[in-house]
Each structure stands twice: as structure tokens, then as C-alpha cells.
Amino acid sequence: MIDISRRALLGAGASALVLPRFALAQADNRPTISIAVQKISNSNTLEVLREQSNVGERIFFSSLWEGLIGRAWLDELKTVPLLATEWKRLSDSAIELKLRPGVKFHNGDEMTAEDIAFSFGSSRMFGDTPATAQGRTIPVRGDGIPTRAGRELPPEIPAVARRSWPALERVEVVDKYTVRFHNASPDVTLEGRLARYGSEIISRRAFAEAGTWFDWARKPVTTGPYKVVEFRPDQLLVLEAHDEYWGGRPPLKRIRFIEVPEVPARINMLRSGEVQFACDIPPDQIGAIEGDTKYEVQGGTILNHRISVFNQSHAVLKDPRVRRAMTHALDRQAIVDSLWAGRTVVPKGLQWDYYGDMMVPDWAAPKYDPKEAQNLLKAAGYKGDPIPYRLLNNYYTNQTPTAQVLVEMWKAVGLNVQIEMKENWTQILDRNGERGVYDWSASAPFNDPVSCIVNQFGPNGQAQQVGMWSNEESNRMAVVLETSTDHAERKKAFRRMLEICEREDPVYQVLHQNATFTAKRRDIKWKAAPAFAMEFRANNWGG
């Protein structure tokens, strides 16, 4: 473990800004930092289309993966030019982008339009799925499923890719530094989709040269400021500075993500100096950590809401009144106050302020109204039949205590909800057995409702893909949101989707906005983004 002094930290940060390129080959005094995380990757891969998770966001951005359009992690998550320097609309369904010249992949190749077209092509993203996805759930061929040793795309990759890009028809190479994205239907969110998690660019040559798809997914070759040098699943991920990074020399020599499942162990590693950052700190530990003035805890609310999802076809839950009763039985503010020490908020439904004009300002989470919940249960003729509730053990911060509180609140209005602890996401979504309610979270990868409510609960959302819920009118509204260019119509469609998905035929209920907290040494000049992502470029180190 390399111990870094305050002087070294400040010096390294300053040198990263002022050192000319010819100095790169000289002595490398940049620090190596270690970060203790609860989990490195759920899927044991580093491929953005496979590891679509909160923990994945942390290791991917901004260190490893980059898209054409990116986010200013430390500036209200605004969209900013990244691998594209400018873009313009050609029509409602097409956009042209100018690529940043001189961008080098980790293998030394220069990024060109061919890499962009390949990144969004059938070999890497879509398989043989059609570009006319709006309004229906994508069928994926089930025959010829390969072994994990093969080069074929795992079958979930096209499903995930089409969730992000339901109607992308093709990417046209105009010249070496110009590409055009052609959609099969009008889409006002193309820019947002380009900025979202899953739209990052890969090296075509590196993908072709990988022995198997899994080999690729363990060591993807991208344009990010750091490259993968070692990945031991469930143990360690080591990223190393990519000194040819287009944005300047990265300030850190290496970043080591160490998987430490236990919270006390992560905190102990921080306090003993073995790591400089300890992630996923529960709110009740913040006071104890900051009791020592050498350490501080950063973080707060992020673009992710904790939700629970309902199975519409469950014998009890098929009556929407029971689901509605469940939503009214919860005192969300009490959960925020007691388990989060008020460090997060109850959001206005499945939306965020950064939706801007698309936000529905007068919307709110279902009111805490036990009487209303009891009336609904009575009207539904609920007789106390058990409702299974699947969850993981503290995958989300405070997940288990929150679930216990929920069950008690439901019990108080007469609902018999029974917790079923599961060990992984596959078991959570398993179609076998009785599915009632399960824990989930929903993010907004870009600043439009399409990025969340349509992405998660539209025709190609996971809830419908795993057969939990469907609503014909909501699906029609999803298509409007995805394809209409009429702002007023889109806004109306979003409100209607909220009404259906949260009130009339609930598919989910929002619990609270998610928050993440990272403990660090106070003398390290670094700021946490309002996201799981951790920014380790020169603009956020040592300055």
C-alpha cells in the first residue's frame, strides 16, 4: 500500500495540470490511491452493457468509459461534449456529431468514426434485434445460446441495448471524424441517449482481437483517463493512468478498487491508512467517522430513487386497490428521518429536478394515509393473504432496516407482507415461485423522463421484460414520450404515465431518494459528485 502524504497529494495535483507532455516519460511521482468498496461489479465484468448498476457507475465513470456526450459530474451533471466536440440535429430522427480529433484508445489507436459505428452496431450491441422497438417488448432469439467461452453476445446484451436505444437504425460514417445517428422514429432525446450509461465508445480493433466476449468484458479498451491493468472479480480492480488521454495527463498513477464487503472493515481500512476512500458508508456511521478530525464523509442525494416494484399478476396484487393501499400505508418521511438522519428526501415521484421543464411540479409521492389504505383493502376484499417481499441483504444502504420498517407499516393497516431474503438479483427476478413485491432502484441516466420511467417501466423496461407488469395505456404513453416532438404532448404523456404507474395501476412506489456517502481523509482535495460516479480527473484532484 502506498502511503500518500499531503505534500505529495498537492504536488501531484498541481503537476498534472502544468506538466508538459514531454515530461511523461520522466519519473512518475503521482500517487496511487486505494478505495474500499462494498462491491466492484455484480456481473464480474467491466462492460457497460452488462454491468448496469450503481456499483458499476462508480468504477466506470469518469475513470474508464466515455461517451460522445458526457456529464459534468461536479457541475450539476450538465451534459458536456466529451468524445464529440459538437453536434447538430439533421431532423427529428437524425443527429450529426463531430468527433474530437486525436483521441487515443488504451491500445494506442486513434478513435475514428468507424469505432463509433462499431460501438453502436449489431456485433457489439443489438444482435439481430430490430430498430422498431417502440411500443412492444423486444423478443430475443433463444436458440443457440453460447457457452461463456464463446464470442457471441450474451442474450441480455441486445435486450439492455434496445432498452437504451429502442429505435436506433444505423450509424452512418460521414468521414473520419463525423458520424450521423439515424433513428427509425422521431426522438427528441437522442442527445440524452448519447450521454447515458451504456452509450460509451469502444475500440473496434480491441473488441475483434479479444479471445472471447468475456475476455473483452474483463478488460475493455476504451478512451477513459485510466485503463484496466488488473481485474480480479470479487477482489480487486486496478486502473492505471492512460497518459495519452485526450483530456491531459491523469493526476493519479493508479486507482485500486478493493472489494471489502463489511462496513466495519472498510472503515478500519480507512482509519489504518490502507485506503484513502471508503465507500458505501451508512448514515449512522458518519458521526463516528467525523469524530476524528482527520476524516470526513462526503456525498448526499443522487439521481437514483429507492423503489419497490409490484407483481401485477400476483393473486392478491392483481387488484390495484391492494397495491394502492400499500403505497398509502407508508410514512416515507419517518424512514428518511429515522434511518437516514434526514440526509435524503422523499421525492416527487419518479422524477428529478434536472428534468427541467419536463418535471411535473405538482406531483408527489402517495400521501401517508393509513385510513385510506384500510378502506382500499376493505373495498378489495383483502383477507390477510400473505404477500411475498423479495430483497437483498443491504445491497442498498439501509435496505434491510427499511424493509423491516415497511413490513411493520403495512402490518399496521392490515397487510400481511412477508420478507424473503434473496442472495442475488437473479433470485429477486426469478419467475419461478410466488413473486409479490421486490426492492429496486431507478436512475435517470439523462434529463428526460424517457431515461427512467420509460426505460424501467415502458414496454422494454425490466418490469415488463421479466413479466411483472404491463399496462396498455402506459405503453402508448411511453411511445409518445419516445417519439413525439411536441413538448406539450410529451409532458402530458409523462404525467399520465405517472398517474398510471404510481396511482391507478401501480407498478412501483417511490420510497425515498437514494444517497451515497464516501468517507475519506480530510486532507485529500477531492469532491464527491451527486452520483455513484467518482471523478478522478485533474479537475478534481489536489486543487
Binding site: 432469439r141 445460446i145 442474450p155 439492455v160 480480479r232 472493515a265 442475488n424 437473479t426 426469478d430 419467475r431
Partner: protein
């Protein structure tokens, strides 16, 4: 002697077959492998095709015979998460685990047996009481508690040793001590009891009455006879070399077989879990076999009686 050896070997093989069968049945009953290999996002058609492709649609007994046949050919299957051979994955982790459990075993034997013998030879003295107090404490404090206490003291407060990971030999010190202290406590208690029982035997009184010096009587008569129960415990500890550090590996983020087992079980990575169980069973069975043979060496009566049956 050959019959004695043959009987023990047959029992060992039967135990392995039972473990393999048990692991197969329990793991198949606890979840559908197709759902685990495929992502939760995979559509039903894909999952059905996968079941067909991998023979998961076949009756359980057909799958079992195929699985058993593969084991006989040295094929322990593929990891569902990694796409690599289960044996390859497990073999990668074995050195890390042995790096903890072998030194810990030395501590257990090197500390536990002398402490137990010494306590027995000084029965009811303050040394005996002190040793037994430590032994009871070491025996009853869970390893994760002891581990965290050691981390707080030596890593956080004193800063002498790292608290987790596997970077250098220094990272192994605290987990080895955590593992070693608990085992040493167990051995000390067993050794003391065995010694006290032997010291009270008539043949010890006879030896002393015949004028054999105390230290000679202890060395020639007490220690060999007290060794039999102690060897049993040591054999058990040797048998758990591969899987005896599950908790400690988790507390110290040590990437050994134990942590692999925890992750594999939570992900229902069947081939890996089965492979670990098989290896653990084989280690345990081998250790027990060696212990059985040692019984014969330590106590000729057992050898003779086995030869007669």
C-alpha cells in the same frame, strides 16, 4: 493391516460419493441453474433454450449420472459467472487459503499442545488456571470478534499491521493469529483433559511406584497415550485447512477459498460450490484416513484388533 487399510479406504470413498450426491441434490433443489447462468434480463425463450442445451430438462437422475461420470473423468464443470473451469478457479484460491491455514495450524499445535500439557502437569496451580482462562476465552470468542479486536488494536490504534487484503506477508499476520488462537485454545483444553485422564491411570502409578522418574513416565507413558484424542482434533484441523477460514477470510477481505465459497453460494455458481465441497470433503476424508492410520501407530492394540476382524 491391509484389511484395516482397505476398510478405511472404502469408507473414505463412500463418504466422497455421499458428499458429491448431497451437494448435487441440495444445490439443484435450491435454484434453477439456467436462471443463474443467464441474466435476469434474459427472456423465457432464451432460458428454455439454455435448459435444453445443457440438459437441464433431463430427469434429475440422468443429470446426476452425467455429472458423476464427468467427475470420474476429472471434469468438475464450468463456473457460471466466469466461464472458466471450476477447478481452475478454486485452484487459484487454494494457495491464499493455505497461506493462512498452514501457519495457523502451526500456531495451534505449537501453542495449544504444550500449553495443555503444561497445564495438566501443573493442575490447579495459577498457571493451570491462567492457561485455562485463556483457553476458554479463545474458545468462546467468535473469530470475527477476535479479528475485529485485533484490527482495532494492531491496525487502527498502533498502525503496525494492515487490516485487510492480501498484498504481503504482513497482511497475513492478523488473520493467521485470529485463526491460530481459537484453534490453540481448543487444542489446549483437549490436551489438558487427555493428559489428566492418562496421569490418573493405574499404569502411571505403577511406573512411578517402580521408580521411573516423573519426567520419564510422562514422556514414555503419558504423552503417547494422551496423543490419541489430541491427534483426532489435529486431524480435524488438518481436514479443515481448505474451508476452515470462511469467516476470517471475509473479515480480512482475504481472497481465499472461503470467500470464493461465500460468493459462489450467493450466486448459486453450482460448479464452483460443488468443486469446493468435493475438495473439502476429500481433504477431510484424507485427514481422517491418516488419523486412523496414526491410531494404529500410536496404539498397537488398535492395529492388532483391526487385524483380527
Amino acid at each position: 493391516m491391509l484389511r484395516f487399510l482397505g476398510t478405511r479406504l472404502a469408507r473414505a470413498l463412500l463418504t466422497l460419493v455421499l458428499v458429491v450426491t448431497f451437494a448435487f441434490v441440495v444445490l439443484r433443489l435450491s435454484g434453477d441453474p439456467a436462471l443463474l447462468i443467464m441474466s435476469a434480463d434474459a427472456p423465457p425463450e432464451a432460458i428454455a433454450a439454455f435448459r435444453r442445451a445443457w440438459g437441464l430438462d433431463d430427469p434429475l437422475w440422468v443429470q446426476y449420472l452425467r455429472y458423476f461420470g464427468a467427475i470420474l473423468h476429472g471434469d468438475l464443470g464450468q463456473s457460471m459467472r466466469d466461464g472458466r473451469g471450476a477447478i481452475e478457479l478454486v485452484a487459484e484460491r487454494v494457495p491464499a487459503t493455505l497461506a493462512l491455514t498452514l501457519p495457523a495450524l502451526l500456531i495451534k499445535i505449537g501453542l495449544g499442545i504444550p500449553a495443555g500439557v503444561y497445564a495438566a502437569l501443573h493442575r490447579n496451580s495459577w498457571i493451570d488456571r491462567g492457561v485455562m482462562f485463556l483457553a476458554v476465552a479463545g474458545f468462546t470468542v467468535p473469530s470475527f470478534v477476535l479479528g475485529l479486536l485485533l484490527v482495532l488494536l494492531f491496525a487502527v490504534q498502533l498502525g503496525w499491521l494492515p487490516s485487510g487484503g492480501q498484498e504481503s506477508w504482513r497482511h497475513a499476520v492478523l488473520p493467521v493469529i485470529t485463526l491460530g488462537m481459537g484453534g490453540a485454545a481448543v487444542l489446549a483444553r483437549f490436551t489438558r483433559s487427555a493428559m489428566l485422564e492418562v496421569l490418573g491411570q493405574p499404569y502411571m502409578r505403577t511406573a512411578l511406584a517402580k521408580g521411573v522418574p516423573w519426567h520419564v513416565a510422562v514422556r514414555r507413558h503419558a504423552l503417547p497415550n494422551a496423543a490419541i484424542p489430541t491427534v483426532t482434533i489435529v486431524g480435524f484441523m488438518v481436514g479443515s485447512l481448505l474451508a476452515g477460514a470462511v469467516v476470517v477470510e471475509s473479515v480480512f477481505s482475504w481472497p481465499g477459498v472461503g470467500r470464493l465459497l461465500v460468493v459462489a453460494v450467493s450466486n448459486r455458481d453450482l460448479a464452483v460450490v460443488q468443486c469446493i465441497l468435493l475438495l473439502v470433503a476429500a481433504t477431510m476424508v484424507t485427514a481422517n484416513l491418516v488419523v486412523d492410520l496414526l491410531y494404529g501407530v500410536l496404539d498397537p492394540r488398535l492395529r492388532i484388533s483391526a487385524g483380527r476382524t
